[in-house]
Amino acid sequence: MMDALGADAARLQEDVLIGGASPPSMARLLAQASRRHFGAGSPIYAAGAAADCFYLLLEGEVELVSPLGSRRAVRAGRFGEEAASAAHAYLTGAFAVADTTVLCLPRAAMQALARANPLLQTDLLLSLTSHLAGETLARAPLPAKPPAPGYRRHAAPGWLLVIVLALLTLAFGARLGIGDGGVIFLAIFAATVAMWICNLVDDYIPALFALLATLLTGLVPVPVVLSGFASDGFLMALSTLALGTVVVSSGLGYRVMLLLLRRLPNRQRWHNLGLFATGLVLTPIIPTANGRIALLGPFYADMVDNLRMERRGRAATRLALSCFSGGTLFSAIFITSKSVNFAVFGLLSPQGQDHFQGMAWLQAALVTAAVLLLAHVAAAVSGCRNAERPQLPAARVAQQCALLGPLTSREWAALGGIGFMVVGIVTSSLHKVQAPWLGFAMLFGLLLCGTLDKKELKEQVDWTFLLYLSGITGIVAAFNHLGLDRALGAHLPALGDSMREHFGLFVLLLYLLINLVRLAAPSNAVTVILATILMPLAQVNGVNEWLVGFIILVFSEAWWLPYQCSYYLQLQELNRGAPLYDEARFLWLNALLNLARLLAVYAAFPWWHLLGIR
C-alpha cells in the first residue's frame, strides 16, 4: 500500500506540469488520486463523454482517437486534460493499446489545482494541443522577475535603524521630561516612522505594528488606540473606495472619457482639455492617483497614436502633461481623491471633522486649486508651443461609444451613487445627515442592489488602506491621550512660535523640509508623519489644524525625480521602448508645477483669512 502510494506521489511529482504545482496543492491532489487498470484494447473514455477525470499513465500504452478516427499516442504520459478546463466533454476518445495502469485525478480536484496554480491551466491546454498536433508545444518561460526596487537594497540597514531608533528613544527619551508611558510610546512611534521612511514593508504594516505594540503595553485604553476603526473617516474612506470600484469596473469612467472627447471640438487644445477634464472628473470619484493614471494612461497612448502626433514632440508632451495633471494635480483639493486625505481628515479634532467632511474642504481649497490650474495652463501652453494640427479620428471615437452601447445597470448605479453623494452633501443643511453616514447609506445601497458584489468588496476595495487609516488615527489618538501633543508644543516652542507668529515663513520651511524628506521617503509616509506631529502642534498653538494638514498634502505631492512618484512611474512605463513624449521637458514642466504648489498656498492666504481659517 505504502509502495503504491509512494509510486503515485512520485508520478505526480515526476510530471513536468503537475509536479510544478505548489506542495500543498500536490498534497491535496494525492488524496484524490486513484489507480485504474484497463485491459489491452479496452476504452478509457469516448469522445464527447463527460470529462470527469484527468489521467497520468503509470504502465502500458494509450492512444487518443479523434472523432474522425485519426489516432495519436499520448504524449508525456498524460491525457484527459479537458477535465482541468471549462470544457465538460472530452474532445477525443482514449483506449488502452496494451494492459494499462493509470492514475486517475477527478475533475473537481483538477479544477481546484488549476485555481491554485493559475499557469497550470494554460500548460494543460498546450498539452492537449500537443496531442492533437502530434508535436510538443510548450509555453515560453516567463521573463525573469525584475530586481528588487531601489529601497529593497537598504532593507537590512533600514531594520537596523528601526531597532536602534527605538532603543535610543527608550534610553534617552526620559530626558525630554515626559512620563514613562510617553517614552515607551515615542519608542514605538520612532520604530514605526523608521519603517515608513525606509519603505521596509507596505505602508499599513508599520501602522499595525504601532497599534499592536500600544495594545500589548497597555499604554492607552483600548477604545482610544482602536478609535480609528470606529471613526467617521473609516466609513467615508470605505464608501468612496467602494464607489470608485464600481465606477471603474462598470466602465463608467472610460465612457465619460470617450464622451468628452467626442463632444469637444477636434483641436489640440480641446484634446488636452478633454483629457485633463476627464482626470479632473475622476479625481473625486476614484480615490487613488495610481487608479486614475492607470485609467488615463492607456487612453493617452491611444490618442498619441491616433492623432499621429510627433513622437517626443511638444504636442505629445503637452498631452502627457494634461493627462498626468488632470489625474493628479488636484489630489489634495477633494477629500475623496486620495486615500491619505482621509488619514489627514482622521487626524482632525471632532470639531474639525464635523466642519470639513462636506463641501467645506473643497471650498477652502478652491483658491489653491485655481492657482494650480493656472500654473498647469501656463506650463502646458508656454512650455510646449508647437505647430502640430492633430485630428482625433472622430469616427473611431463614435464607433467606440457605439460599442459601449447604452448605459448598463451598473453604470446607472454608479451614477446614482455619485448623484446621491453630491445631492446629499449639498443639501446636508436641510436633512442634517453627515457625509459619512450618507456614504455609508450609498455603500449599503450598492451592496443591497448587488451592484457591488461580495467578491468585489473583498478583492477590489483596498482593505489594507483602511487598516492603515485606522492605524494612524489610533496612533494620533494615543499620542494625544498621553499628552505628547502638549509636550511636543512645549519642546518645539520655536516651531510653535513660527507657526503662530510667522505662518508664511513656516510654510516656506515646511515646503523645504517636505521636499528634502521626500528625496528619501514615500509621499504617504511623509504626509502621515508630518501631519501626526504638526497638526496637534497647530491645535496647541491656535493655528487651524486643517490648514496645516492641507498644506502638507499639497506639498507632499511634489516630486522632482521619477522614483519619488509611483503614479508617474506608471506613465513612464508607457514611454519605454518607443517614447511618446519628451520626458526631460515633462520633468522640467513638472518641476515648475512643484514650485507653483508653494505659490498656490501663499495665494490662498487671503481666502483662508476670509473664511476664518487661520
Partner: protein, 344 residues
Amino acid sequence: MKRRSEKIMLALFMGGALLLFGWYNASKPSILVLHSYDPDYAWVRDINVGLNRVLDKKYLYQVRWYYMDTKRHPSPGYKASAGTAARNVIATMRPDVVIAIDDDAQEYAARHFAADPHIAIVFAGVNREAADYGYARAPRVTGILERIPLDAMREALQSAIGLGLQGRPIRVAYLGDRSETVDGDAAQVSHYDWRPLRLGGVLQVDTWPAWQAAVTDLGAANDVLLVSGYRRLRRSAADPTLVPAREVVAWTEAHSPRPVISFNAFYTEDGGMLAIGTSPYEQGEVAAALALQVALAHRAAATLPVRTSAQFIVSMRGASMRTRGFVLPRVYEAAARTGNQYLP
C-alpha cells in the same frame, strides 16, 4: 525576494520586539480588584471611579476586575460558591496585590490568602473590624475601613432648620436589613455617642412587611429615621424574592411620617430625599494608592497603616426636600451640586 541580511535583521527586530514586550508584560505587577457586589450597583460604580482615578497608568501594572455579585444573590449557598470561584481566580492569577472590596470579598475570598507570602491584600469598604477577618497581625495586609459618617450626620441634624424646636433632644432611629454590611453599620450606630441627640432605636429586619411596619413605628416615635442597607429584604417570610431597592425607597418616602436620611449616597438615586454617606470615591482612591505603594514602591503592606474613612458625600433630591419641608443650611445643597449628587 528578501536578502539574507534583511531576513537576519527582520528576525532580530521581531525576536527583539517579542522578547521586549514579553519581558515588559511579565515584569509588570498585577492587581486584582475583587468586588463583593456587581458593577451596576451604584456603590461599586463610584468605588471604581475612585480606583480608576488612581490606577490611571495601566501600562505600569496589569489590573483585572472580578465581581462576586453577592448583593443580588445573598443566599449562603451562592456566597460560598462565589467565594470558591473568587479564590480560584486569585490562585490562578497569583496577583501581586488583591484589592478586596466590601465584607463579602474578605469573608469568602481574601482572608484565605492573608498568610500567603506572595500576595498582598488591600481591603476597602469593610464595615466590620479588620481583625474579624484575621487581618490584625497579617504582615501583607492593609486597607481602609468603611465607617458611616456619624459625626457628619449628627452635625447635619443639629443644623436642620426647625428640627430641634420642640424643646427636647432630636430623636433618631436607625433601620436596616440583616446583611453583614448593615450588621457593621448598626453596631456603629449603637455605639456612637449621639448626644445632644437621642438614639431612639436600632432595628434590623429581613422581610418587606417587617420593614414597612418598622418605618411606620419608628417614624411615629422619632424625629428622623436613618437607614443604610435595604437591598436584602425578602418579599415575605415565605417568598425569598428580594424587593427592588426603588420600590423600598418609594414606599418608605411615601409612608414615613418623618424625614428619612440614608448613610448611602445612592439613596437619592433610588428615589430618596437625602443621604450623608461614606465617600465611595475615597474608598477607591485610598485602596488604589495603598495597592500602588505595595506593587510599585515595594512597601511592605504591614508598614502602611490601616486607614479609616474620613470623607463623606452629600446627595440630595431637591423636590423631596421641599415637599417634606426639610431645610438644611445652603452649604449642603452646594456640596451635593459640586459633587454632582444633586437631583432637582
